[in-house]
Symmetry: C2
Subunit: 220 residues, 2 copies
DNA sequence: ATTTAATTTAATCAAATGATTAAAATATTT
DNA sequence: AAATATTTTAATCATTTGATTAAATTAAAT
């Protein structure tokens, strides 16, 4: 997260280009490539994606991809870092808020993640599976390894239930929000759940998950 | 699931071989390849796996892979079907048992899946991510699309809470069992959770998840 | 208007990769 | 022991794929 801009504006040439394009405000070739890459990478994963797929989706010449981003790997890193940022920009402000209660944080997390993932359904599977296949990239994201343990959220969880590892609740909460979207491809191939049913269920989860978590806090 | 053996013993030649090898009881070349393929495929996914990786891991000549399994894709299908079977051979008997209570089913599912996934940590991410990338294979698995809706488990859930879609509970339960393993690669790269901590937490979940689910059933 | 810089195109390269082939080695049957 | 079938090896193919190059085109600066 920290070195996101460093990586993104990796050399001066690109920095120049980016600025020009931002001022110009048009959908630049660079942006077209990035959008196409986001689509193809998140749908098929890094290994299954061909640079030619991206070029075709972006409706550009293949050489342009390398001209703008040097390599498939560099382009992928940019996309991945953006996606990770999206994830953490939801998580961090909520779990570190001193002013909200534990219950309130749970409500916020459920609502915000359901909305984020409804808009980006294959985001979780993309991040989670690339973390396994492509470990190198996650090392570059110099995240403070204690950000979770030191969060207000974890402290509130510990206060509420000192007898249970707070991470158990964190994993369950994230699982209840994220897992449906991870499971979606399998679910849709194995059952008759359609797009509308799924959407309704996810919306219902905004209230179900907080209610469930409250009940889980109270178990003896 | 249904056509598993049909696919596996795709032609008479292979059927012959298999029988001979089973009788002979030695670790046949075919079995060596399958074991190596299982390892590499589940770790790296289909697209990122090179047939040469498998050959090297199995310590055999590359041509043998094609001799025994015709193609990378055919080999993959066999591995995938075995893995799916592993998953469903845990799920099906439990959710279709008339003799056990709802609470008992939850206990069984939690305990059995924690054990299964502790022994096969990258099984879920393998299945879930290939379902997205490689949709063709899941069509071949001619699963009855109503097996879940018609299960005793879903009926018991409906009886307990007619006001909530039973699938909401199913997804949450599976999520609480499976998601930790899906999240494991990311979790380990972002926090200081070691292998031992993770193991302990998963064992604790065998009792936590049933307790939580019971509490969730009671929410107003 | 001319020069310089940035962008785009078409053609091509080199390496990687799934697969095949023909011959050699080993096992099985007659 | 000879003949036959099975298994293994080494060499090679044909494609695919990420990347490059040199030329053409367009935009920007002087």
């Amino acid at each position: 997260m920290i070195n996101y801009f460093f990586l993104c504006i990796e050399n001066i040439k690109m920095a120049k280009k980016e600025k020009i394009k931002l001022v110009a405000e048009d959908v630049s070739t660079e942006e077209k490539i990035k959008q196409a890459a986001t689509k193809v990478f998140t749908q098929k994963g890094y290994a299954a994606t061909r640079t030619r797929d991206i070029a075709e989706a972006a409706d550009i010449n293949l050489a342009l991809l390398n001209y703008y981003f040097r390599s498939k790997e560099k382009l992928f890193e940019i996309i991945m870092l953006e996606k990770m940022q999206k994830f953490f920009s939801v998580l961090m402000p909520i779990i570190n808020n001193d002013a909200t209660s534990l219950e309130n944080k749970v409500e916020n997390l459920a609502a915000n993640y359901v909305d984020l993932l409804t808009a980006n359904p294959d985001l979780p599977l993309f991040i989670l599976s690339e973390a396994r296949t492509n470990p190198g990239i996650f090392i570059k994201i110099a995240q403070n390894k204690d950000f979770l343990q030191e969060s207000v959220f974890v402290k509130q969880l510990h206060q509420k239930r000192p007898d249970i590892n707070p991470l158990q609740f964190v994993i369950s909460l994230l699982g209840m929000c994220i897992f449906p979207f991870v499971m979606k491809p399998v679910l849709q191939k194995m059952t008759d759940i359609g797009e509308n049913d799924f959407y309704t269920m996810m919306q219902d989860r905004k209230t179900l998950i907080p209610a469930w978590m409250k009940a889980m806090f109270k178990t003896k």
